[in-house]
């Protein structure tokens, strides 16, 4: 039988006022799998990602990481909300990297990476700093440990953000359009770091509109539109022979614009 899913999203629904942003979405991600989520803007893909670690709340459904529920525990026919402390603890097992880097500007790169492990998980300073330097080396920024974010380029900041998320030893990494805010020439270094992670066996959910990257890195591509998963499958299937018209239309618009 297949091993336990690393991420299990079960029938999640979210509305924002009158608009239904997510409708009964279910998704299962296996350990080590890289799932890329694509879709038009406003489709709900970013919202879905943010629901996973409860940065956004949702009215129905439950989500579990490696079997552990996050946010809501199933109870009978319904669900109950976990305590704030429980939610914070669960969030520590999920790494997330945002579009707008969000490094803490009043801390150096090294401090950004060591802050959470030291203060949330109680890791002693020496071990936290050693691990931080390892991670900085992995993303190619060893020489920037003592720099403040204001002195780093966008691509460098984003790589530090990745290292910061990895420092918590997460079971799964979420990426929310992490290259959208970058100048084109800086995109490559971030995608390289993500490629490294994928090859290392990290379970990843990536929201992006870099289609060629999606093709390179994804084990599975999921297309979301109007808050619903319209189609999912292997990259080549989705990108070159999609079954639904909506996906075809989306890709055509994309191809016309980017000529990939």
């Amino acid at each position: 039988m297949a091993q336990r899913a690393m991420l299990e999203i079960s029938s999640v629904s979210k509305s924002f006022g009158a608009a239904q942003v997510l409708s009964d979405v279910s998704l299962s991600v296996a350990p080590g799998e890289v799932v890329v989520v694509i879709g038009p803007s406003g489709s709900g893909k970013t919202t879905l990602l943010r629901c996973i670690n409860l940065l956004e709340d949702y009215e129905r459904g439950t989500i579990a990481v490696d079997g552990e529920p996050i946010g809501y525990r199933r109870q009978g026919n319904g669900r109950i909300r976990m305590s704030e402390r429980g939610i914070a603890a669960a969030r520590a097992t999920i790494g997330i990297v945002f579009q707008s880097f969000n490094l803490f500007p009043h801390m150096t790169a090294l401090q950004n990476i060591t802050a959470a492990p030291m203060r949330v998980k109680g890791v002693p300073r020496a071990r936290a700093e050693a691990r931080a330097r390892e991670l900085l080396a992995m993303v190619g920024l060893s020489d920037k440990a003592a720099e403040y974010p204001v002195r780093l380029s966008g691509g460098q900041q984003q790589r530090v953000a990745i290292a910061r998320a990895l420092a918590m030893d997460p079971k799964i990494m979420l990426f929310d359009e992490v290259t959208s805010a970058l100048d084109p020439e800086l995109v490559g270094e971030v995608l390289g770091a993500m490629q490294q992670l994928a090859q290392g066996g990290m379970t990843m959910v990536v929201v992006t509109h870099e289609m060629s990257f999606a093709r390179d890195i994804a084990d599975r591509i999921v297309f979301i539109d109007g808050g619903v998963i319209v189609e999912q499958g292997k990259p080549d299937e989705i990108l070159f022979s999609p079954r639904t018209d909506r996906v075809r239309a989306f890709l055509k618009r994309y191809n016309d614009r980017y000529r990939i």
Binding site: L55, R91, I94, S100, L103, P105, H106, A115
Partner: protein, 217 residues
Amino acid sequence: MNNFNPLIHSFPYLLRGAGMTVLMAVTAAVPATILGVLLALLQVFGNRVLRAGVIAYLFLIRGIPLLVLLTFAYYLLPLTGIDLPPFWGVVLVIAFYYAAFMSEVFRAGILSLPQAQWDAARGLGMTRPLMLQIVILPQALRLAAPPYVSLCVSLVKATSLVSIVGLWELTMASREVVERTLAPFQVFIGAGAIYFCICYALALYGRHLERRVLHGH
């Protein structure tokens, strides 16, 4: 009127008054700041009842002159049976008054942080107390520092009001000297100059902080 001797002879006395002014200001500023941070946090994170309470407090304090509050504290406090030395009485009133203004400055600082900072901290699994301690407040207070220093300047000037209810500090000292020497022009200019030195130095520090805030670290 061109004879500044009265001022020169009484300058040491005025300086002692200035010492008391600074003492009062510092003694009032500390509780004012602490209460200000507390009120700001209550307004940002508190439930509806707490928030309403804070808003009511702010409305009252900001609509009533400090002199009125000082005067009536002076008359009312003995009646309630609380035995407080006058110095502490006025210092507390000044503290409560400025806490209201400081809380607005701190609140603006907290709210001006991009949502992204909250997201990043929560994403790393930080609980709210930890988030406030190492991510939110360090940044918010740095942002709030320039207007906060402005309020401190205002606080120093406000200590002059305690002379009206009979407490001794620089303004009271200068009035005493004027009564003695009948040279109001020279003496009040002298007192004004001392206030100016204290306040202008603070104001310059505030501008220095403002430049640091604008240009990052």
